[in-house]
Symmetry: D2
Subunit: 345 residues, 4 copies
C-alpha cells in the first residue's frame, strides 16, 4: 500500500442486524484488494468516531465473518449531535487518522446523522441497515430477509400447535412504526389476519374472520401483529417499564389476544418472537445484498462521492442521495397489504 | 383383512409435540402391513374414546404425515376420570368398535390415566410424549430433541445481538417442573448460566459470573431460565391471568432480568421463546424415535401386552411397566447439571 | 358462484421448483375469494390441456400447500407444439370446460409455448418459474432464492471440512446455460472462485488463486462451478448416458477437479449438489414472491389481459409482454460477476 | 496454575465430523476451570504428536468454537505405526511438553492406534468420533445426528421433486461399511427402500416395491443407498480413480439406478449427497453429546485412567475399555432394519 493510499473508515451504528459483518468484510476486501486503499475500523458506532476508538482493518481481520451475526466493530446508540456538537465531535478522529471518507452502516437515525455531517463537510457514504425494511430509497434493506425467514419458520411451527389444540394464536413480530416483517411473514406463513401500524384494524372484523373459519371446520387461526400497532380501544399503550426501570419488548399482542378470545370463544395464546428476529447467521439473500451494498459503498468512497446511500433498485445497486432516504419512513403500500388480505380467513 | 383381524385404537392426548403424527403413522403401518390388523383412530384424545368419535385409519390416511407437526387425530385435555367415571366412560366405545387394545400417546397425566384404565381391565399400551423429557423409565421422549434444537438455534441468534450490544440476555424456555430443555439448550448454546427448578439459584452468584465476564472483556452474557424456576425473593409467582382471564405463558424471566440488571449494571433484555418450541416439523432424531416407539407399541398391542409404555433404553426400544413411568417426574440429575456448570461464565 | 362466473385454468409445466404450490394457491384464493371466479386445475402440464385432464380447484384443495414443495397438479415435459399441433391440441379442453383464460406456470420453454398459443388466440397469462433465475423481464424468479439458500448452506458445511483437511473443494451447482445460482451462492458462501457459463475461465489463473491462498496460510479453497460451464481443454463434454441409457446430472466438476489438483498440489474433492436444489419447502422470500405473482396473474386473467407474464420489477409486480421474456436467456451481468471476483482468493 | 499442574494434550485425527471443536472446548474448559490443569493442543492429528507441533490452549483459544464445524487443531491421516515406529515416534513430544495424558478424538483407526500406544505405556483417553455411528461400545457417536439431519432434510426436498415428476430417486448417503446413516435417514424421511451393507439386497424385490406403489397411484419412490453396498450383479465395484488419479466419492447409486429404471419403467435419477454430510454446524444433540464426552475425557485424564474411551450408554457417559471399542465395527442390528422395512413401499 502506498503512503498516500486513500483511507476509508467504516462504522456500524444502531441495533444488531444480520449482515453487518458481511458489509464490513465487503468494504475491507473491496478497498484493499481492488482499490489498494487502507481501511480503518471505528469501534462502537459514532462513539468511536467521537473518542478516536479506531483500529486498522486488514484482510485477516475480516476472515470468516461473512456468515456471522453481530458486528466485529461493536455498536452504540451514541450520536455526535445528541451527545456532542456534530462535525466538531468527530473531526479530530477523522483528521488524526487521515480518513478520507467514512462509511456508516446504520438505520434511519444514523442516516439522518450522516446527512447532517455530510452537510457540515464530512465525506460520508451510508449503507442502510434495518431488519424493519422501512428505509426509503431502496427496494429492500439487508437483515429484513433473515428476520422474515425466522418469523415465518416460527409461525409455521406455531400453526401446527394451533391446529392440534383448536386455538387462536396471536404472534407478535418486530416493527415499531411499520409492518413490513408482519406483512411478509404473514403472507409467507399463511396468516389469517395481519395487523400493522399503517392501517387501522377492527377487532370485530378479525373476530368474524376467525368465527367464519370455525364454521368452515377450520377451528384454529393465526393472527400476526406488528409490535407497533395501536392497542385496542380501552387499553393504554402498555407501560413497559417495571419498578426497576426494566424495559419489556413488545406486548400489544397481550392486549389484543384476550379481546379476540372474548369475541370468538376460541382459546387464544400469545407468542412474542422478540430478539430472535434480529441476530444470527444471515440468509444467503442478505449475505449477497450486504456484500453488494458494501462493495458499492467502497467504490463510492474511493471515487469521492459523499452524502449518498447505497441502495437496491430492481437488480442494481445504486447511489441514492441521503435526503431521499431521510424523507420518510417507508410504509407498506396498500397494494401489498391488499395482496395479504386476499388470504385472510 | 380378515373379519377377525385384531383391532387397535390409537389416540393422542395432551399438548402438541413434534412427532405425534410419526407415531400414529408407525402404528398404522405396522398394524396393517406387518400384523394384518385394523386400526381405529380416536379423535380429540380421551374425549373421543368417551364420545365414540372414531374413524378407520388406513395406509392412505397416514400418507405424508411423518414430517408434519401436530396430530391428525386432534387432542384434548379431557380425562375419563376427571370428566367421567373412568373405564365405564370409555367401555362403550371400546366394545362398539371391537377394539382389542388402545394405544395412547401422551404425557405423564395421560400415562397415569392409562395405568388406572389398565388396572380396571382396559387393554392399553402407552407411548410417552413430552417435549419436557421428564417421563421416568425412558432415556428420552420424542419431541424433546426438536424443542432443544429450536431453543438452541434461537439462543445462537440472540447471542450475536447480546455481543453486539454488550447486553445480558435472559432467555426463558419451556419446563414447568423440570429443566431438561434449559439444560440441554444451555449446554448446546454455550450459556453462561442455566437456572432450572431442580436446583436453587442465587442471583448474587449469577451476577458475579456476569461481572467476571465483563472484567475479562466479555461484555455480554446469556442466562437460560426454565419457566418453572421459583421467582426471585420478593417476587410472587407472577399472576398470569389478566382482567379477562387471559393466560400468559412464562414470565419468570421478566422477574429475574431486572434483578440481574441492577446487580451487574449490564443492560438486560428478555426473550420468552414460548410456543415455537412445541410445534412444527420434527428433527430426524425425533422422527426415528417416534417411529420406533410406534412400531413397538403396535407389536405390544398385537401380542396382547397391556399396562406398559414403550421406552428408549440405550439403543433399544423396550416395554416398561406404566407404574415405573408414573413413579416420578424425572429430574435433571446433578451429574448432568454439573457438566453444564463447567461452562458457566 | 354465478353460472356465468369467469373460468380460469391453471397448470404447471417443466421441472419442480419451490413455490409452485404457492402460486397455485394464490391463483385459486384470488380468483374465488376476490373475483368470484371459478378455477380449473389442469393436470400434468400441457399434457392435461391436450388430454382434458382437469378438475375443479376449490379453497379446500389448496389448503396447507403454501409451504409444500412440488406441485399438486403434477407436471410434464409434453408440449402442444412438439407432441401436438399447437392451439388445436388444446382448444377442445378449453372449450369443453368453458375456460376463459389459462394461467401457465413454467420456464422459458413454457413461456415460448404460451406466447405461440397466445398468438393463435388462446387467452393466456404466464407466471415465470425457474430456480435458474435466467428469465428475462423479471428481476428474480421464484425458486431461485430457495436454491441459493440450499446451495449456500451446503457450501458453508463443506467449507469446514475443506479447512480441517486442507483441501480444495469443487462444488457443482445447477445452471445449464447461466450461472446465477453459482454466482449468488458463491458470493454468499465466500467462494474463492466461481466458474459460470457467461464468462470463460482459465484453470491456471484459478490454480494461482489457490496457491496464493496456501502461501498466505489458507491451505484450503472453495471453487463453485455451474454445471453448464465448458469442460477444461482436452476434455469432451462428458457423456452422461451409460450403457442402459441412464442420464447423470452434472459432472463437469469431475473434469475440473483433477486439473486443479494437478496444478496446485492441493488434495481436491468434488460435491455435486444435484436435486436437493430444486425441491422442498420454499424460503419465505419465495413464498411471498410466488404468492404475489399468482395474485397478479389472477387479476390479469380476470381483466382479460393475454400474452403477458407477471414479473418482479423493483418492489412491484407488473405485467410484461411474453415477447420480452422470450427475447433472451438472462445472463449474469459483468457488474455482478465483477463483485463476486472481488472476493476470489 | 501451579508449576506442577497436570498437563493434558488433545488431538483430533481422521475425517471432519461436526462436534470436534465442541469436544476440544469441553476438554479445555473442564481441565482449566474445574481441574486447574494445563492443556496442550496438538496440531494435525498424530502428525503433531510425532513432530512436536503443539501449542498451549487457553480459555480464549476455544471461545466461540462450540458451534463451529471443523477442528481448530487440524487433522491428518498420518499414524505413528504406519508412518513411524509407534510409541517411540511420539514419546519425545510427550516428554518435552510434560504431557501426562493424551486425549485423542478419532474414529476406529485412531482408537486402534490409541489402544496400541496405551499398551506401550502412553497415558491415553479416547473420544470416539465418526459420523458413521459404527463404533462399538457406545450407543451413538457425535456427528452422526448432524449427518442424519442433513441427509433427512435433503431427502425431504428430493421427495417433492420425485413426486412432481413421477420419478424414482436413488439417494446415496455416506457409510462405507455400515448403513447407520442410510437406515436412520431412510426411516426419518420415509424411504421406500433402504440398501445397506449389512444385508444383501435384491433388485427385483425393490423393483416390485416400486411397481406396487405405482399400482396404488404412488408414481414416485425414494430409495436410499449407503455408499458401501455391493454393486449390482454384473457391475464391478466402480473404479473411482480417473486418469489423473483423482478419487470420486460414492457412485454405487449410479450402478443401481439404471437397473431399477429398467426393471420398473419409472424414470430414475441419482443424488450423491457427499461431503455436505460431514461438516458444518453440529445439531444441538451433537453439541451436547460432544461436550459431555469431552468433559468425561478430561475427568478421566485427570484421574489418571488410561486405555479407555468415553461412551454414551443410555443417559450416562461412561468409560469403556478401548479393547471393547476396537472389537468390531458396529452393525445396524436386524431389529432396527426390520423396523425400517415396515415402511418400504
Amino acid at each position: 500500500m502506498s503512503a498516500d493510499a486513500p483511507v476509508v473508515a467504516v462504522l456500524t451504528a444502531g441495533g444488531d442486524c444480520p449482515g453487518l459483518n458481511a458489509v464490513i468484510r465487503a468494504v475491507v476486501r473491496r478497498c484493499i484488494d481492488v482499490h489498494d486503499a487502507e481501511v480503518v475500523g471505528v469501534e462502537n458506532g459514532w462513539n468511536g468516531l467521537m473518542e478516536n476508538e479506531v483500529r486498522s482493518l486488514r484482510r485477516d481481520d475480516v476472515r470468516g465473518i461473512l456468515q456471522q451475526g453481530g458486528t466485529i466493530l461493536g455498536t452504540s446508540r451514541r450520536d455526535p449531535y445528541e451527545q456532542g456538537d456534530g462535525y466538531a465531535s468527530v473531526q479530530r478522529t477523522v483528521e488524526r487518522n487521515g480518513i478520507d471518507t467514512v462509511i456508516v452502516i446504520g438505520g434511519d437515525g444514523t442516516l439522518r446523522t450522516a446527512l447532517r455531517l455530510a452537510d457540515e463537510g464530512l465525506q460520508v457514504v451510508a449503507v442502510p441497515k434495518t431488519i424493519d425494511n422501512d428505509i426509503a430509497g431502496t427496494d429492500m434493506t439487508f437483515g429484513f430477509d433473515t428476520a422474515v425467514e425466522i418469523a415465518t419458520q416460527a409461525i409455521d411451527r406455531i400453526t401446527t400447535t394451533a391446529e392440534a389444540h383448536e386455538r387462536l394464536m396471536v404472534v407478535e413480530v418486530m416493527g415499531r412504526t411499520r409492518g413490513w416483517i408482519a406483512t411478509w411473514a404473514g403472507i409467507a406463513a399463511g396468516a389469517d389476519a395481519i395487523l400493522i401500524p399503517e392501517f387501522p384494524y377492527d377487532l370485530d372484523e378479525i373476530a368474524e374472520v376467525v368465527r367464519t373459519r370455525v364454521r368452515r371446520g377450520r377451528t384454529f387461526s393465526i393472527v400476526v401483529v406488528a409490535e407497533g400497532v395501536d392497542p385496542p380501544p380501552g387499553h393504554d399503550r402498555e407501560r413497559r417499564l417495571d419498578a426497576l426501570g426494566f424495559e419489556r419488548v413488545g406486548g400489544v399482542a397481550y392486549q389484543i389476544a384476550p379481546e379476540l378470545e372474548e369475541r370468538t370463544g376460541v382459546e387464544t395464546r400469545v407468542t412474542v418472537l422478540g430478539y430472535v428476529q434480529r441476530g444470527g447467521v444471515p440468509t444467503a439473500f442478505d449475505r449477497v445484498l450486504a456484500t453488494r451494498l458494501g462493495v458499492k459503498a467502497a467504490d463510492l468512497a474511493i471515487e469521492g462521492t459523499s452524502g449518498v446511500m447505497t441502495a437496491l433498485r430492481g437488480p442494481e445497486i445504486v447511489a441514492v442521495p441521503l435526503e431521499e432516504a431521510c424523507s420518510e419512513i417507508k410504509k407498506v403500500p396498500p397494494r401489498l397489504y391488499e395482496v395479504a388480505k386476499t388470504f385472510f380467513g
